[in-house]
Amino acid sequence: MTTPSGCDAIRELLDSYLGNELLVETNHAVLQHLTGCSECSRELAARRRIREFLREALPTAPDAISVESRVLQQLPRRVSWFTVRKLAAVAALLAVVSAAWFITRSLRSPVQSSPPPPAAALLSAVYRNTLDNHVECGLALPESVTFNAARVARRLDPAYLALVDIVERESGPYHVAEAHDCSLHDTKFKHLILRGAGHTISVMTLREPPSGMPPAAVLISKPQASDPIWNLRDGRLEAAASEAAGHLTVLVSDLDWAEHEQLATRVLPPVTTRLHGMAR
């Protein structure tokens, strides 16, 4: 049986216990006391709930984007001629790649069975992982989960928090419900899960994609009938990917092709820009 003075001493420590600020021995003593004292356990549960409510009651800072852009505008932006020339070269390359892609696509019927484009073949292993993660993590997210900034700030690498605002801003009727770090098949993802109009969409960023990635290109691939993963939900699962600054970002959705393409072309370029900005 616990003496009242014991309870008083333990209650003094409960907040530090919740904040992981106790020494190992003290932590052990608190745990031991809690297993035998229902009053202190109830007190601990109430204090934990206070913290959760405080986090939830805080404003979610929806104007972070405008403040961020005001700050960035005021930073001096001196760009050397070397950079200008490099940017021009990348723009030209992108224009050529885009033109080639549009021409190729316009010559091919969407329902026509054709071999996968070489870029998609190169990426098939990566796509498989991202599609698996969309199914196992994105689609498994309970319907009751809604966006909570404090929870996301705890669960997502802070360096990638800005992606949440960018994706939210560009996603039209779909809204970010959850963002966190997760991993599957030894691949680590920064995973943003969007919902809206009955659809679930994943935006997954992974670092250091495998070698053989085409540089600075935006690839948009259609699902292949031969690939069972791509055929999930009556073959309507679509994936689009972009690569930037040592990252690969893949958007997976069950939208129809035109809508998926529209969403991907809105979301991926600003994400890519941001990732370039993050790279040293």
């Binding site: 206070i50 805080l58 700030a153």
Partner: protein
């Protein structure tokens, strides 16, 4: 020119990701979104100007919070809003000594938090919401570790006391005794 570009990229990588968290804290502390946005913007511009003095690898978040608290303190002085002095309130102390209520709402927790005087509100916010360590809070508020611990202890106790009083006042079965002739 190259250095300037590197500096900008380093700032975007190290400092900007903390903007959202700072804005959230500032909004709660300043109790006005406009003031919070101005304070955070000024914080980052000051941080940019002194970014050369920031040591890479040290805690950028605590450094930014430290700048923001200086900015917020200046705003408070400019607006002649002084921190509330903490008077000894026997009813509050008594409420804080009672066990925590089993049922309370998010709004009641937020209302109790808003009743805390600034120094305690700041410490509780950084520890229990933003999950900074004692050391980071000491750095952010520019106070010794011992002061962090005493502010947290007092702040959490006051928070529980205010919450208890709010819950007791809103209890549906609560009746007021009146002298009957």
């Amino acid at each position: 020119m190259r250095n300037e570009r590197d500096r900008r990229e380093r700032f975007i990588e190290d400092a900007i990701p903390h903007l959202r968290g700072l804005l959230r804290s500032a909004t709660r502390l300043a109790r006005s979104r406009d003031t919070a946005e101005d304070a955070v913007q000024e914080t980052f511009l000051r941080a940019w100007k002194s970014f050369d003095r920031f040591q890479p690898g040290t805690n950028c978040r605590a450094w930014l919070y430290r700048i923001m608290f200086v900015v917020l303190a200046q705003y408070r002085r400019a607006q002649s809003v002084q921190p509330i002095l903490v008077d000894f309130d026997p009813a509050l102390e008594q409420a804080a000594d009672q066990p925590m209520p089993d049922v309370f709402t998010r709004d009641q927790v937020a209302a109790a938090f808003d009743k805390l005087p600034s120094p305690f509100r700041e410490a509780v916010l950084l520890a229990d919401v933003e999950e900074l360590s004692y050391r980071e809070i000491a750095e952010a508020l520019d106070i010794p570790m011992g002061t962090v611990m005493s502010r947290l202890s007092r702040g959490r106790r006051l928070l529980r006391g205010h919450l208890r009083l709010l819950v007791d006042r809103s209890a549906p079965g609560r009746t007021t005794l009146k002298r009957v002739q």
